[in-house]
């Protein structure tokens, strides 16, 4: 993909063109335990799509927090450049992104906005089932917003702290 992700900042809106790989919980475990050179230097999408007749019908993001524990190791092992998901990831991931990668937010539930410009290139680990398989997808004009950048900034942390202040005032 023709983007220097390390130049992006929190709040930047980006349109992606190129290849991405879906990976959820089970795929993350597989990728850490096995060698899978196809995803070297690539982009990971936290997503379990609906696929019919080799076409992507719907493909919104899943909650990224479930992948918190595996992501730092995955970034190290495969030099992942960007992760697309929803809901943000924890501080360990934010630290690991420093100087090398970004987290991009897609809108949870907006599955058809994303699937309309997707083509399947390949599928791996099909035995994991439709949701957990690794789908290699060619995307066109995939709109995302940078919510964790490679300088240690996170929009999710900002929102969390702001909401914490209000929460603590309400609860006391």
């Amino acid at each position: 993909m023709d983007i220097d992700f390390t130049k992006l900042k929190v709040g930047d809106k980006v349109v992606l063109n190129g290849t991405i790989f879906t990976a959820r919980d089970r795929a993350h475990l597989f990728l850490l335990k096995n060698e899978f050179p196809q995803i070297q230097n690539s982009i990971i999408y936290h997503c379990g799509p609906i696929v019919k007749d080799d076409k992507i019908i719907a493909a919104g993001p899943t909650s990224s927090a479930r992948m918190d524990a595996y992501t730092p190791k995955l970034i190290d092992k495969y030099n992942i450049k960007a992760i697309i998901g929803k809901g943000g990831m924890d501080d360990n991931v934010l630290k690991k992104l420093k100087g090398r990668a970004v987290y991009l937010s897609a809108i949870g539930g907006a599955a058809l906005i994303y699937s309309k410009n997707m083509k399947i290139k390949n599928v791996y680990c099909k035995e994991f089932g439709m949701t957990e398989a690794i789908w290699e997808i060619e995307v066109e004009n995939f709109p995302v917003i940078v919510t964790m950048d490679s300088n240690g900034n996170s929009l999710h942390s900002e929102v969390l702290e702001k909401s914490r202040n209000v929460f603590q005032k309400i609860v006391k």
Partner: protein
């Protein structure tokens, strides 16, 4: 007599057409949001809803766990209705299509979709289907009062603290703007069931219990002050509606069930 075709039609309507109350709620929020990011998110969500309806495709890739609420007059047995629903679920999964979501908890094998069905006797047949994302299910919670950590006692303030805590911890993980169903009292399965059932209420309805209605509006106001926002990236629309119900409790117990619905809380009814 309900047929497999009726249930299949119900699935298609539920998966592809968002109820108008939620759709209008999202449109209102898009008009009043002050944050540009929040407005962008809401506009994309509204566009997504339109595509789903026009192209008859599922609004979201996540089928959720389909939950059926069936009221029946015994002309059909529960066993017959269950079989019809299960067959229609298999057909819907293939035809609409829906993502197969039922995973064997031990082997990890995916076995299509498996609905949850609640039966109730009634003079008139009615069937409602609820589908919502797994993200919103994961952030749902049951509290037991008193809760020392929250400083929450067995009173209205205590109940509110539980709900604020659930929303604070949820952040954007369950696809806000949320619809939040709450149930107090009861046994543990009662508050889980009753809180989820509140998600079926029209988001603009008025709670007949004036005390509960007051708590609903106070909760909505407080939650939206947290500015978690659509998609959890900031904004004043964190929840579209709060729906509260009560049941009786055991003297020793006081549960607060908090069921989250994502913005794509899909519901459709047959027989209305």
């Amino acid at each position: 007599m309900i047929t497999e075709k009726d249930v299949l039609d119900l699935y298609r309507k539920c998966a592809t057409e968002l109820s108008s109350d939620i759709k209008e709620g999202l449109k209102d929020a898009a008009r009043t949001e002050e944050s540009e990011n929040a407005r962008d998110v809401l506009e994309s969500i509204i566009e997504n809803i339109e595509i789903a309806k026009t192209e008859s495709k599922p609004i979201c890739q996540d089928t959720g766990i389909p939950v059926f609420y069936v009221k029946h007059d015994k002309t059909q047995s529960e066993e017959d209705i269950r079989k019809i629903i299960e067959r229609a679920t298999d057909t819907a999964t293939k035809e609409i299509p829906l993502r197969p979501n039922a995973v064997d908890s031990v082997s990890g094998k995916v076995i299509g979709n498996k609905p949850v069905i609640h039966f109730e006797e009634s003079a008139k047949f009615e069937m409602t289907l609820l589908m919502k994302g797994g993200g919103s299910e994961n952030i749902s919670k049951i509290y037991s009062l008193p809760d020392t950590m929250l400083g929450a006692d067995r009173d209205i303030e205590g109940i509110k603290k539980c709900v604020f805590d659930a929303v604070f911890n949820a952040q954007g993980k369950g696809c806000p703007p949320y619809i939040i169903g709450i149930a107090i009292g009861g046994s543990i399965e009662e508050v889980a069931h009753l809180s989820k059932k509140q998600l079926l209420r029209d988001i603009n309805d008025h709670n007949k219990d004036s005390e509960l209605r007051k708590v609903e509006s106070e909760l909505l106001e407080g939650i939206n002050k947290m500015e978690i926002g659509p998609s959890g990236i900031g904004g004043k629309t964190t929840a579209l509606a709060i729906k509260l119900a009560k049941s009786h409790r055991h003297p020793a117990s006081f549960f607060v069930g908090v069921s989250f619905g994502c913005w794509a809380t899909r519901r459709a009814s047959y027989g209305h």
